[in-house]
């Protein structure tokens, strides 16, 4: 069955036609052309398709598009809408918290959300929140550094 759903993506209201068996990741990537959402496993293990669903990180390969009717979605593309990179994005670049970059959107997004909720996370809290995302290049140390250094900007908010 095909139906229309409405959702807010990165601040913009969208109406899309989706099939019942379509996944959120595919609607974001293929229909809305939001390519910052990546995937490496399609079964909830790698976390590269993480998006914020009503402010909560979820893996969009395990969510049906019809489920998010009326919801708000934020992807990495939604982070720097005011024309400037967010502090966490700057910190990722500066600390080299990226190599091939394929997992970077998911890590940036999840780190940003973590800092919004908890501006001064401990190393344990960072690990706890990010262990659902894989990076084969092994930038975990740099990611922790980037989060710690960006942390001061989130405290001011």
């Amino acid at each position: 069955m095909v139906r229309k759903i409405s959702l807010t993506v990165n601040g913009y209201r969208k109406t899309v036609e989706v099939k019942d068996n379509e996944l959120l990741i595919d609607v974001l990537r293929d229909k809305l052309k939001i390519k910052g959402v990546k995937a490496a496993c399609w079964r909830g293990e790698c976390g590269l398709c993480t998006v914020l669903l009503n402010g909560e990180p979820v893996k969009s390969c395990l969510v049906l598009a019809v489920e998010v009717d009326g919801s708000e979605i934020v992807t990495v593309e939604g982070l720097s809408r005011d024309g400037e990179l967010t502090p966490i994005q700057k910190a990722f670049i500066e600390h080299g918290a990226l190599q091939c970059g394929f997992c970077t959107p998911a890590f940036v997004l999840a780190s940003h959300q973590l800092l919004l909720e908890n501006p001064n996370p401990t190393e344990e809290e960072i690990k706890e929140k990010l262990s659902g995302i894989l990076c084969r290049c092994g930038t975990y140390y740099e990611i922790i550094e980037a989060i710690k250094s960006a942390s001061k900007f989130y405290q001011k908010k």
Binding site: R29, D30, I34, K35, G36, V37, K38, A40, C41, W42, R43, E45, C46, L48, T75, V76, E77, L79, S80, L85, Q89, F92, I93, E94, H95, G96, L98, Q99, C100, G101, F102, C103, T104, P105, V108, I126, K127, E128, L130, S131, I133, L134, C135, R136, C137, G138, T139, Y140, Y141, E142, I143, I144
Partner: protein, 801 residues
């Protein structure tokens, strides 16, 4: 190069493409859609070895949206980089569970996925062989009957009529005599299971075969050149009609070298009526259909004198190459000629067999045989030290190669400026505090220990592997650098940009490297593999810079009326040395200089430069003697581990790596490589293993049961040390780094365990079950003691045994 202070070289410049990656705007092949694009899906074999009797896809064609189903019969091509053994889709026979037998092309991925379930393949099963030792037996099923027809590179020695895809032999000195003189002999067998690269971006390709015979390819691959070269040779399409483009790539680690699915998807595009076609592998297909790292056996016998001198080494490596060994034959060669690691061994005999089995095909993975040869050798060093009664450090010191004096096992005299292995070792010892005993724990059933391993690595490449670079100036004196060096996370391109900016005195933003590598637009480089990119392409770029400077100075010398050798390039200006007021801004020259009256001289400046290795050779087929590589990077890894004797769990607390990089062009990028390589080494050392069932099926093709290190698992501390012994022909003296950082980790952990417990773990991964088994077999007393200590410290008086 005689400059002492640098503006960019040696500075921690962040990755040039970071902005695109943190904003989600970096475009990967995964993100590419072309108008009218179709989707392909593979039908893969469910049996390990069989003749294909019939493929019935009539029902698949009835699915709405299915355009065509293609089988291997129609495309009897053999492709490959080294062994040339690979088919595009199975021809006549399937050789492993997962072998693609047909491809469905459809208007949507969904239709293609529905259709593959409806393709009925009738097999006549043949006896299968899964273990390379079995495959070597004379009565083993033959996996490739027509090996003699394959077009293989001259560096290899396949043996038709057997399952041996390549036999490498190396002989130096008299190994029998060496053993007769030895006081201590170590004999051991080692094993490493198959592991997967697990780059995050799966292999995927878009190909468009145009009606005019031009082929456009987008692919998630490491290199553009070999794709074009192999496709041209095998499919007969002229080189200049094949355009290969590689945008951002989500990781490679060697698994995206040579040729991938490009030839197949090209043909699918033609078959689908010249429409673009995209093929994306699933993660499961990455574990079962794409190539992974080979399985490995090492049978080693080593002889030492009681003074610690290593005098005889007889080693046999057997590589489980799976159904296709195209790239693995070269791994077999590299594992062979790297058998001596960083030690001088006067008498050595190596045999390395790359063997076909009915398992998933195999290929290169970060380190290319060196992690395997060092897994064997570096543990032997510790075993020998213990038997002789000296420190593991001492035995290494005694046998360490001396650049300028020593020869490697291939007979290559190490150049004087090859590096400083002694200093590498010294640095490791200081950072791991080798002589400080590890802390005793409040939980006495756990023990801490330190271990180390040394290593060396050079690029495994053909002797004539070249590189080139083109520099072209824009009107504002900004520079476009046209290079083909792959960019899949290693950071090389950032370092190459630093070189250009440094040499022209330009700000970094004025040097642009397009993120797309393109056979049509980028200068040629053989491949970006083997930690060679910075070295080979860096040299080509320095030569291109020289070339461009010559053109610039020629014009400037005329304008400034001053000999060329009195000129210098500073901060984007050409100046007369010692007279800085006599100058011309670069932008007045790079498109040609125009005098006030309109007369003009010079013209657009385009610099070109090449790298060609001049001293490398093929290796002698009988003795393995020759010069295989363009540089050797020396390094070492040391770890501190905590071993839980009750559960068998090994926790790595601290990793130290020391590398002699010649010159650190960018410490931030070096840090990334050293951290990343340490984590990949830990993951493969402690967790990873592709498991097969008795029918050759992979039973853990996902990240739940094939575990990759996660952020929660990282060691508390990683110490990175670099040593700079410049190599005169390297860019600023630099050598390669990428693969090095993974080689020493696993043997260092094994050595730490051995040092504290005497337990030998000859097989990877060093997971709790494997350590528990080894402990149970070799030191049951240790376990009993640990249990006793647990009971004592917890005051659990025992009621019954």
């Amino acid at each position: 190069m005689e400059k002492l202070t640098f503006k960019y070289i040696g500075k921690p410049i962040p990755p040039y493409d970071g902005f695109y990656k943190v904003t989600g705007t970096a475009e990967y092949t995964f993100d590419i859609e072309l108008p009218g694009m179709l989707y392909a899906k593979l039908v893969t074999s469910t049996v390990p070895h069989a003749r294909i009797k019939k493929i019935d896809f009539s029902k698949a064609l009835q699915i709405p949206g299915v355009v065509k189903v293609v089988t291997g019969k129609d495309f009897p091509y053999r492709v490959g980089m080294y062994a040339g053994d690979r088919d595009l889709l199975a021809i006549d026979k399937v050789r492993w569970v997962g072998h693609p037998v047909a491809a469905v092309i459809a208007e949507s991925l969904e239709a293609a996925e529905k259709a593959i379930d409806l393709v009925d393949v009738e097999y006549e099963e043949l006896p299968a062989v899964f273990d390379p030792l079995e495959a070597l037996k004379p009565d083993a099923p033959l996996i490739h009957e027509k090996m003699e027809e394959y077009r293989h590179s001259p560096a290899f020695n396949p043996i038709p009529g057997t399952n041996i895809a390549n036999k490498f032999t190396l002989v130096r000195g008299d190994v029998e005599k060496g053993f007769r003189e030895a006081d201590v002999i170590i004999e051991e067998q080692f094993y490493i299971p198959h592991v997967s690269h697990c780059y995050m971006e799966v292999q995927n390709v878009v190909a468009h075969y145009h009606l005019d015979g031009t082929v456009e390819i987008w692919t998630s691959w490491q290199n553009v050149a070999p794709i074009r070269q192999i496709m041209a040779l095998s499919l007969g399409i002229p080189h200049n009609k094949i355009i290969v483009r590689i945008p951002y790539v989500g990781g490679g680690f060697g698994g995206k070298a040579g040729l991938g699915w490009e030839a197949l998807v090209t043909i699918l595009s033609k078959e689908a009526g010249y429409r673009p076609v995209k093929l994306v592998l699933s993660r499961k297909e990455q574990f079962t259909v794409a190539a992974v790292r080979e399985g490995f056996y090492g049978f080693a016998k080593a002889g030492f004198r009681k003074d610690g001198k290593f005098i005889a080494y007889d080693v046999k490596f057997i590589l489980d190459a799976g159904a296709y060994a195209d790239y693995t034959v070269n791994v077999g060669r590299a594992v062979g000629y790297s058998a001596d690691g960083c030690y001088e061994i006067p008498n050595i005999r190596v045999e390395s067999l790359t063997v076909y089995t009915n398992k998933i095909p195999t290929t290169a993975l970060r380190g290319f045989g060196y992690p395997e040869s060092h897994w064997v050798l570096e543990q032997i060093m510790d075993r020998a030290a213990k038997k002789i009664g000296i420190d593991p450090v001492e035995i290494r010191r005694i046998n360490l190669v001396k650049p300028g004096i020593s020869e490697t096992c291939t007979g290559e005299r190490l150049r004087e400026d090859a590096g400083n292995p002694e200093k590498v070792l010294q640095t490791l010892l200081e950072e791991i505090e080798w002589n400080t005993p590890p802390e005793k724990l409040r939980e006495p059933w756990k023990i801490r220990s330190k271990g180390l391993a040394l290593f060396v690595k050079g690029p495994a490449q053909p002797p004539n592997a070249a590189a080139s670079a083109i520099l072209k100036f824009n009107e504002d004196a900004s520079v476009d650098l046209l290079i083909a060096t792959g960019n899949f996370g290693q950071g090389t391109i950032t370092a190459l940009i630093q070189i250009v900016a440094e040499e022209f005195g330009l700000p970094l933003e004025k040097v642009r490297v397009d993120y797309i590598k393109d056979t049509h637009k980028s200068a040629y480089t053989w491949q970006t593999v083997g930690s060679r990119g910075l070295f080979t392409d860096g040299i080509a770029i320095l030569k291109a810079i020289e070339d461009a400077k010559r053109q610039i100075f020629r014009v400037a010398s005329e304008v400034l009326r001053c000999p060329e050798d009195h000129l210098e390039l500073v901060d984007g200006e050409v100046r007369v040395k010692g007279k800085p007021w006599m100058k011309i801004p670069l932008q007045d020259i790079v498109m040609g200089y125009t005098y006030p009256n309109g007369n003009s001289i010079g013209g657009p400046v385009i610099g070109r430069g090449v790298f060609m290795s001049t001293h490398t050779t093929y290796l002698d087929p009988e003795t393995g003697q020759g010069n295989p590589t363009i540089f050797h990077t020396f390094g070492g890894a040391a770890v501190e581990v905590e071993i839980d004797l009750l559960t068998g769990e090994i926790k790595v607390l601290k990793v130290v790596q020391a590398l002699d990089l010649g010159k650190v062009i960018n410490p931030l990028l070096v840090k990334q490589q050293m951290n990343g390589g340490s984590l990949m080494g830990l993951s493969i050392g402690l967790y990873e293993q592709i498991k097969f069932d008795e029918r050759g099926w992979v039973v853990n093709p996902n990240f739940t049961n094939y575990y990759l290190i996660r952020i929660k698992d990282i060691p508390k501390e990683v110490v990175r040390k670099t040593i700079e012994t410049p190599q005169s022909d390297g860019p600023y003296g630099a050598r390669g780094i990428g693969e090095l950082t993974m080689i020493g980790i696993a043997p260092a952990i094994a050595n730490a365990v051995y040092r504290a417990t005497g337990v030998k773990i000859n097989q990877l991964p060093m997971n709790p079950e494997n350590l528990w088994k080894a402990l149970k077999e070799q030191r049951p007393d240790l376990f009993d003691e640990a249990l006793k200590k647990f009971i004592e410290s917890k005051k659990l008086a025992e009621v019954r045994a």
